[in-house]
């Protein structure tokens, strides 16, 4: 079988089953690697390093061949990134016009879900057009099934890692998330099933201080390793480059596939950019509840600079955790291991304080 062509994406709200159903491999353009800063020139220095790195990778020729890109209008920075992406690809005759930006409402009321459903249909039309082949609803349903299987397996495997039954700790788990985000569904399924069947490791368990991690993007496995090397045991995390990417899509044979996806994506564990107007500031509760559920003694928040959705909500989180007596360490970085590494002493001191 011919290898599948890749479709680039950059946000955990991307309708991955659509990409699979169109016959493509979803390829998350992770903000990794070290490249000369060209994006800051084109956009502005004050845009988040997440999207600047994505563009820098594209501008430095660091990406595999992409047959198109599906972006999500999740925040100002993403929208501007999509503009720049279109601009830098305008001379590429094959890719020119093969970028779609899907609108993503900030709230998950029924009108919004229905509008988002229409946006997913628009995305499906674009993908079908690029591929030259209609996407049948049955194919989408089958891809949703595969996606759900991946989602379930990832939960089980994450648990195995966290219980120390698989080698490599959370760094190895992050590698698996990254692979899942950059590979065809079928390859991911094979890999995950192997891991599920792998015998329990006899490596010593992480005896570190249990912490919960949250934030926007932190794809570098070594960052997790570094945090653990400071004496932490990462009990669970909530990043857009981690567990948030493969939240399950409800099994509902009655609903049409687009509605199912729209509802599942908009109502999944939200990052800061999506919220419930009836419960302003709920993100703080979510962080606290997740930390408690993970039996963490403390919380480490890691956000990249210039991320408005988080910058304006971190004070909520800080206050809620303070009121609940849950220690919090906030780190700000630029997606590079270097920037997290610079904060090693702070992390060590925090873990020490938790002991």
């Amino acid at each position: 079988m011919e290898p599948k062509e890749n479709i680039g994406f950059a946000c955990a709200y991307t309708p991955l089953p659509l990409i699979d159903a169109a016959g493509y491999a979803p390829f998350r353009i992770l903000p990794v690697g070290d490249f000369p800063d060209q994006a800051g020139q084109l956009l502005h220095d004050n845009l988040c390093p997440h999207i600047k790195r994505i563009l820098d990778r594209a501008m430095s020729g660091d990406l595999p061949d992409l047959a198109g890109a599906v972006f999500i209008n999740s925040c100002d920075a993403m929208r501007r990134m999509a503009d720049a992406w279109i601009d830098i690809h305008k001379i590429d005759t094959r890719k020119n016009g093969r970028t779609i930006l899907i609108d993503l409402p900030a709230t998950a009321d029924s009108l919004s879900i229905s509008f988002f459903r229409d946006e997913l249909v628009r995305a499906a039309d674009a993908l079908a057009d690029w591929r030259g082949k209609k996407i049948e609803p049955e194919a989408i349903a089958a891809s949703i099934d595969k996606y759900n299987e991946i989602s379930g397996l990832l939960v089980q495997i994450a648990q195995k890692f966290r219980q120390g039954r698989l080698d490599g700790g959370t760094a190895a788990l992050q590698k698996i998330y990254n692979q899942a985000a950059t590979s065809p569904f079928d390859d991911t399924l094979v890999r995950l099933k192997q891991l599920q069947d792998a015998p329990d490791s006899d490596a010593p368990k992480n005896k570190g201080v249990p912490v919960f991690l949250f934030g926007n993007v932190m794809p570098d496995p070594e960052a997790f390793e570094m945090i653990e090397s400071c004496g932490a045991a990462i009990m669970n995390d909530d990043f857009c480059t981690g567990s948030r990417m493969f939240a399950p899509i409800a099994d509902d044979d009655a609903g049409d596939v687009f509605s199912r996806m729209a509802e599942a994506l908009l109502t999944r564990q939200p990052c800061a950019r999506t919220f419930d107007p009836a419960r302003p500031g709920k993100i703080a509760e979510d962080v606290l509840n997740n930390a408690k559920a993970a039996q963490a003694l403390g919380v480490i928040g890691h956000t990249v600079k210039f991320c408005d959705p988080y910058l304006e909500r971190l004070p909520f989180i800080r206050e809620a955790l303070k009121n609940a007596g849950m220690p919090l360490l906030l780190l700000e970085g630029d997606c590079s291991l270097r920037s997290i590494g610079q904060q090693k002493t702070r992390i060590e001191a925090f873990i020490e304080m938790l002991r």
Partner: protein
């Protein structure tokens, strides 16, 4: 503090207008109506809604709600030199200095009790991610209900329908909170007034395109965005009429807005809101006049009073800051051409991702038509980091460069 400030402002402008009844300066009338709005917001006697920039103020005013986008207060605090205390308060509370200055000032003002308690809030996802986050913050702070209008990016049938339906739901939300249903006739009358103001403003802008322009660098500063707050009211029609009359008179009598118009400039996005010498300097020292601000344009069609929600939804979607950069750049190019612009100034408000994120593409787009852009690095609200001398030097060099090249318009 703000209550007294706005009340004093109203009294002062009224006294000055009464002292010279024949000289109805449109800018004064405009300032008066804005001061009156401020006064109503802080009077404690009106129903108040804090809103996002793209809220439908004409509908809210037809429903007897005094409403305002919060960034307006951020700008007021900066223009009166009072913002520092509130910026510091926000930063002290953990809001990073990388957040847009408008929002930092408001977050600080909210925490310091300077923002009157609203009855409810109407957030809008356009123009920026920061704006909607501020609404969420304020709703939590005041423990008041928040309604969110998701502004779609495109003028598609689905997008317009989606927003129009949300506006209908907003009307129900508002009447649930005020206890008064919408009076359809009142809304109709408000829409008719919106259309009247729209027409007058469009004619005014048409005249501003003349060479030399009847406007100067200040008369229409912040005009387009702030006038949205008055839409639906008689005040909007009066202010617009005063501008039109003044511009007609100036054009008829060959009076230009500035003494000497050698170069015509376009101001991109928002003005620097705190007192600063730049626009005056450009005009007085170099004859370089800001004849158009990006937001001083009518980008929407007349609204059908029989189907107001569709037209109002279209209007919100049409804002140049909404959607992809190409939408904004096409609009800037149109303005540059219509106003025969020699050069453009983009302040690149620090903290404004949606705006500054298009810096490179705007520069490239306007360059294609021979219009250079001077990109500055300022925080339009926070004067603490304002490098006055450095910016002046860059402006001088920019003007020199413009003077040394032929006009792109022959």
């Amino acid at each position: 503090m703000m209550k007294h400030y706005f009340n004093d402002l109203v009294a002062g402008i009224e006294a000055s207008l009464a002292a010279a009844p024949d000289n109805k300066s449109p800018r004064k009338l405009y300032a008066l109506e804005i001061a009156k709005l401020g006064s109503r917001l802080y009077s404690g006697e009106n129903r108040v809604a804090w809103c996002g920039i793209a809220a439908p103020f004409d509908i809210l005013s037809a429903m007897n709600v005094t409403s305002c986008f919060v960034e307006f207060i951020g700008a007021m605090l900066a223009s009166t030199g009072l913002s520092t205390e509130f910026l510091e308060e926000a930063e002290h509370a953990g809001f990073a200095s990388d957040i847009c200055g408008y929002h930092r000032a408001i977050l600080g003002a909210t925490r310091k009790g300077l923002m009157p308690e609203p009855d409810f809030l109407i957030g809008t996802t356009c123009p920026c991610s920061g704006g909607i986050a501020v609404m969420e913050n304020m709703a939590a702070h005041f423990n008041k209900d928040l309604f969110v209008l998701n502004i779609p990016q495109q003028q598609s049938a689905a997008g317009i329908r989606y927003l129009a339906d949300q506006i209908r739901q907003m009307v129900t939300f508002v009447s649930d909170h005020t206890g008064q249903p919408l009076d359809e006739e009142k809304l109709r009358a408000a829409v008719i007034r919106t259309n009247q103001a729209r027409k007058l403003i469009a004619e005014t802008y048409e005249l501003a395109k003349q060479t030399p322009s009847p406007t100067d660098g200040k008369m229409l500063a912040n005009f387009g965005i702030v006038m949205a707050l008055l839409l639906g009211s008689d005040a909007a029609v009066e202010v617009a009429q005063a501008y039109l009359d003044e511009f007609k008179n100036r054009v008829k009598n060959g009076i230009s807005g500035s003494k000497e118009e050698k170069l015509r400039l376009m101001w991109i996005q928002n003005r620097i809101q705190f007192k600063n010498p730049l626009v005056d300097m450009l005009e007085k020292e170099f004859g370089a006049v800001v004849v158009i601000d990006e937001l001083n344009d009518i980008t929407w069609d007349e609204i059908d009073p029989d189907d107001p929600y569709t037209g109002i939804a279209r209007r919100a979607i049409s804002i140049p800051f909404n959607g992809q950069a190409t939408h904004r750049i096409d609009h800037l190019k149109k303005l540059a051409k219509d106003y025969k612009i020699d050069g453009a100034i983009n302040p690149c408000n620090w903290g404004c991702r949606q705006g500054t994120g298009s810096k490179g593409l705007i520069t490239e787009g306007l360059k294609e038509m021979g219009v250079p852009v001077l990109n500055l690095e300022v925080d339009c609200i926070d004067h603490r980091s304002f490098a006055d001398g450095q910016i002046k030097t860059r402006m001088e060099a920019f003007i020199e460069m413009l003077n040394d090249r032929p006009s792109p318009w022959g």
